[in-house]
Symmetry: C2
Subunit: 248 residues, 2 copies
DNA sequence: CGCTGTGAAGTTCTTCACAGCA
DNA sequence: TGCTGTGAAGAACTTCACAGCG
């Protein structure tokens, strides 16, 4: 997250916003390949990925000139180039900490094992859970975190514990050599520089949706002038929000 | 997502980037309140939320002037203001479609029931799953989607089905009146204008982490000049990436 | 001719730095 | 004095529009 003070974007030079979209393009490309499509235009690929075509072309241009003017992109070749850029031509062993409902769901998730990621181990600290089977894995005790990470050269960890345990687990993972963390616990993790954390948070996503839903409801009520606002049940909040005073 | 051509940001005027951070601030505020802290400075709150203080102040300024110069923000009052802005002063019933591992995890997720969101129903189409108990809910058959949504005035739906079923489920939810969707299936959903979709995608997050991890490995190898690269096991990819030719 | 790749313009977001109030 | 609230500068990102290649 810390950016150097130079305008130069490192020697890699791929904007963060582009990196965040490459996986989406990659998935769309796989879908096209599965349908036997060999060539695709920026317009078509953009539609499949849910972005506009100018953005897609600009994004891909950061990887190199892999298209053919007048024709489009070769699907298979582009799959390879995007995969390589994302670092998916190598295998990434991953450890999951927390074997509750979420840990189960993650471990059984099909897209996990495919395309470069492999569950190296699942840990839990509950003696009743340790030793149980999840997919092809036996749940191991959290005491083994350090040895497994060192032994398998794991650099990505997934935290699927309750919020109260997340920071301690994070500290252990980092101490054991993990440098990339995907955090499902609803807490802000603090990590030393050089460690990359991404978070996935159900409740935050719902709150963002609620904001937009509320905004739509307010607009609708304001436009209608009466209370019967279609199918959505947003009466009370809409009324309260409409009464807001605007300072300054 | 479609923006009006005016520079004016509607009469609401809260930037999208700010909306996306408000839930994080809210969580930090709840944590402070739980510790009995009544007043907080922008510096402290920013640290708890993992952002810098200028950004936090700018964000909060979009809601109004709720701080006190020389002092800081009243925690309880700010909780209320942020909650109200996010639309959390009303109750949001939510339906979950898909009662697999992920649906289970979501339904049991504590932060779900708290703070304004309430699971109205969980649906599945598998006859063996329908009728089973998840938390306080009995899994209902997908045929009931329309009647439950209409009956309870639900406007938020969560899709936790396999990718192959997601678009069809989405279409049904939208037809039934849902206008906000949280999608856990790894597909790009297409929806009519006026419907808001957010996606949560494990595999995309992992790929983004892999990109950064790979980049770190390349930098490290380039700096070292030899292959022994600390604890991370990123040897092969680092070598491949270093051999890349840069066109143009 | 059709489509990519890209300068340039436009927009949004972030950060700085400080005026101004409690 | 200490901290908020905010203009202004800067950086990042998006979109436009078209040159130029296949």
């Amino acid at each position: 997250m810390s950016r150097s003070s130079m305008t130069e974007n490192g020697h890699h030079g791929i904007p963060e916003a582009t990196v965040n979209r490459l996986p989406v393009y990659l998935r769309a490309l796989y879908a096209l390949a599965d349908r036997g499509i060999a060539t695709v235009s920026s317009e078509e690929l953009a539609a499949a990925a849910g972005v506009n075509s100018a953005k897609l072309r600009k994004d891909l241009s950061h990887l190199g000139s892999y298209g053919t003017r007048g024709v489009g992109y070769d699907v298979e070749y582009l799959v390879y180039q995007v995969s390589r850029e994302l670092g998916l031509t190598q295998d990434w062993p991953v450890v999951i900490v927390g074997a509750g409902n979420l840990g189960h769901a993650l471990a059984n998730y099909g897209g996990f094992a495919s395309r470069g990621f492999r569950v190296a181990a699942i840990f839990d600290s509950d003696p009743l859970t340790v030793g149980t089977q999840i997919g092809s894995q036996v749940v191991r005790h959290a005491d083994e975190i350090e040895s497994v990470i060192a032994g398998h050269g794991v650099s990505i960890g997934v935290i699927a514990t309750p919020a109260s345990a997340a920071q301690a687990v994070c500290d252990r993972l980092v101490a054991a050599g993990i440098t990339s963390i995907l955090n499902f616990a609803p807490v802000v993790l603090s990590v030393p520089p050089g460690v990359d954390v991404r978070k996935v948070d159900l409740s935050i996503e719902l709150q963002i949706l609620a904001f937009h839903a509320q905004r739509r409801a307010v607009v609708r009520v304001a436009a209608n002038g009466n209370g019967t606002a279609g199918g959505a049940a947003a009466g009370p909040a809409a009324g309260a929000a409409a009464a807001r005073a605007v300072p300054t």
